[in-house]
Symmetry: C3
Subunit: 312 residues, 3 copies
Amino acid sequence: MGWSRKDLVAIRDLDAAEIVMILDTAASLQEIAGRDIKKVPALRGKTVVNLFYEASTRTRTSFEIAGKWLSADVVNFSAGGSSTAKGESFIDTARNIAAMSPDVVVVRHSSSGAAALLARTLDCAVVNAGDGAHEHPTQALLDLLTVRERKGHLDGLSVAIVGDVAHSRVARSNIHGMRKLGLSVTVAGPPTLIPPFVQELGVKVAYRLEDAIRDVDVIMMLRLQHERMTGGLIPSLREYSRTWGLTLDRLRAHARPDVLIMHPGPVNRGIELSPEVADGPYSVILDQVAKGVAVRMAVLYLLGGSKGGDQA
Amino acid sequence: MGWSRKDLVAIRDLDAAEIVMILDTAASLQEIAGRDIKKVPALRGKTVVNLFYEASTRTRTSFEIAGKWLSADVVNFSAGGSSTAKGESFIDTARNIAAMSPDVVVVRHSSSGAAALLARTLDCAVVNAGDGAHEHPTQALLDLLTVRERKGHLDGLSVAIVGDVAHSRVARSNIHGMRKLGLSVTVAGPPTLIPPFVQELGVKVAYRLEDAIRDVDVIMMLRLQHERMTGGLIPSLREYSRTWGLTLDRLRAHARPDVLIMHPGPVNRGIELSPEVADGPYSVILDQVAKGVAVRMAVLYLLGGSKGGDQA
Amino acid sequence: MGWSRKDLVAIRDLDAAEIVMILDTAASLQEIAGRDIKKVPALRGKTVVNLFYEASTRTRTSFEIAGKWLSADVVNFSAGGSSTAKGESFIDTARNIAAMSPDVVVVRHSSSGAAALLARTLDCAVVNAGDGAHEHPTQALLDLLTVRERKGHLDGLSVAIVGDVAHSRVARSNIHGMRKLGLSVTVAGPPTLIPPFVQELGVKVAYRLEDAIRDVDVIMMLRLQHERMTGGLIPSLREYSRTWGLTLDRLRAHARPDVLIMHPGPVNRGIELSPEVADGPYSVILDQVAKGVAVRMAVLYLLGGSKGGDQA
């Protein structure tokens, strides 16, 4: 089976076979990172535009490196202070970029649905690099790849996702991806940060950290966004950290000795993760970053090299 | 005849044959945009620096893509917040850049004359990407190319340029280019936005939209700059839009059925153009953007590849 | 002897043979700038990340051009407004970048010691592009290369470094480099801007401009930082300029006719240098900029191409 989608907007849209195809492609491409000459001609003569409406140097850099290793031309279009400042709408800007014949537009935007809108509007491939609280599909894919490599497989694994689940596109993409691949998922966090009806996505809910992390194979700690910290959704940072922060003591007391600790970064050290945990032997955080380049190479390769395919 | 100029500062400097040479070169290069592998080695080993003193991600991106498709190394030098902030003069910054041996410097600056100053000062090729209210030559060239392809020729065509003609480098470059190629040009707009003595450039002036757009082949609507909107030069946005905005009704009532609607972008929707017109069948706005890459490839190719040539 | 260091953090760390090796490498690479095709495959498939925490488009551009001429993939990571804004620490950001497998990280940071910290932490090569008031090694190397080419040799030459020596990483790197190569160095400036114990670095101190510049082969004027100007360390700009500014009259009255005038840029014209001196026949300021690209090519080449080497 070959890849047939024009875009990667949401993990929710994919079936298990498509997710596995991206993971397998990433797994085979990731050895490029270890080569003396990190360059393959796969996307030579293809143009990738990073259209970023939110500051995210880290994700943008990951896509840029992925594109360059595949020999694509990568162009960064940061929307701050330019046409946007001149009052141009998102979709007008995007249509303009598209008129310059890119093969792939990678978009990050603060509005949920921005990537889907772009995918419907543009003829070229669109990759969602995070849209509001909706999805961040390449993050979920790199998380899955990290777990699969560390554990050797994904079958029957259990994952706890802890923190601000309600506002997290990372959690949303991971929940969809993990459920599709048969992992069992428990979400946990203060009631104000757990979305209502989340059980309908096939996940369990825990209201105590200890319950969430007991006997799981993976603990994914979410970043507490600064805007939540001051938005009245948690009583105080100290309170949040005391109740939901993962410390080495808690980890040793309640989690399995072979548990993996993940975090999408950037970490608020001392809030959701203690430094000992973030930098400790359980942590695979930097491995996630490395896998990020591999996953983005895979996505650019599958979408940027595709001819035709379905147009929606 | 070969290309002999070191720089492209102003359409006013070119003769008709030179303009046509750029258009012909762009016409032959534009098929690259449709290729599976958008890459030719024409400028391999050449360095293009985008020296932008005004935010313009769109034009910068167009030059960057053009350069990369020609295999040039493209370096973006955004002047905000750097040496400029440290008090370095424009010409000192430019001399420093030039000391790094670029082949082409593409400059955008808010001061009229900045590009000419640079062209006189630097040994490398200088391309004006817009200098104050002076000129924006590649915009006029892409406009001419768009019209030529849509109409099949340029001979004897008539164009209306509508809006803030007085402050528009786009209008100025187009007036020079169109007059040199024998098109007839009518400018129209509120009296405060029509430059005195504009007739001496060989154009007609209309003071009503209806008069301007009647029987012309092309209507070029200019962007109303935000600074004009609040500068007392127009009574109000609503008034401007009611008098000078191009709506579908007005278009159908007064213009020819085969008229082309152009706009340099970004469009103020609902001000100079109604959305139905901007997105309608008369509009060639996105075609202009696509031709922009072709024209910039042509300019970089002619200037960046030229050996010797006249040094002023 | 081959190059054996993983990093270039400080001139102070190098021995004379290492400095000369970089200069010789730069001298042989600099002819690339004059080629019709400025491109060699030396670093093809290598990734260079410019990690800049201070605005410095000029130095960043120099490294970017150097990397691209060597065929490296160059990625700019400007730390303003991104993960940093999200509260991520410098070292966490750097570890994240490193997880993306760059071959060289070029770092500029306002804190002295930032480059050394990075070099100890990361497995990849680290190049210091300026850290606080500590060092700016590639600047000293380009200065040495400029002098060596202009004078034909470095043996026994004498140099005056004038201005804000206390806060200048350029002065510090140059003092170390010049002393190691046997040049004699005199520093001069207002007492508040001369570091105590500077004589222990093997330099002489002069407290009058005339005394400093008499009979030296090279005068290196330092940039007066704006923050010093308002920080109470000098009585007034006018006073500083009158006492320490280098004018053509002073130059002719006190300096040798074959003296070289250097400045790391950007120049405060009329403050530390009069325009006639900055642009005059003694000035080699733009030559310094050109040599900057050559030196950075040499450093990227030696570090980016090195396999193994000492790991700290």
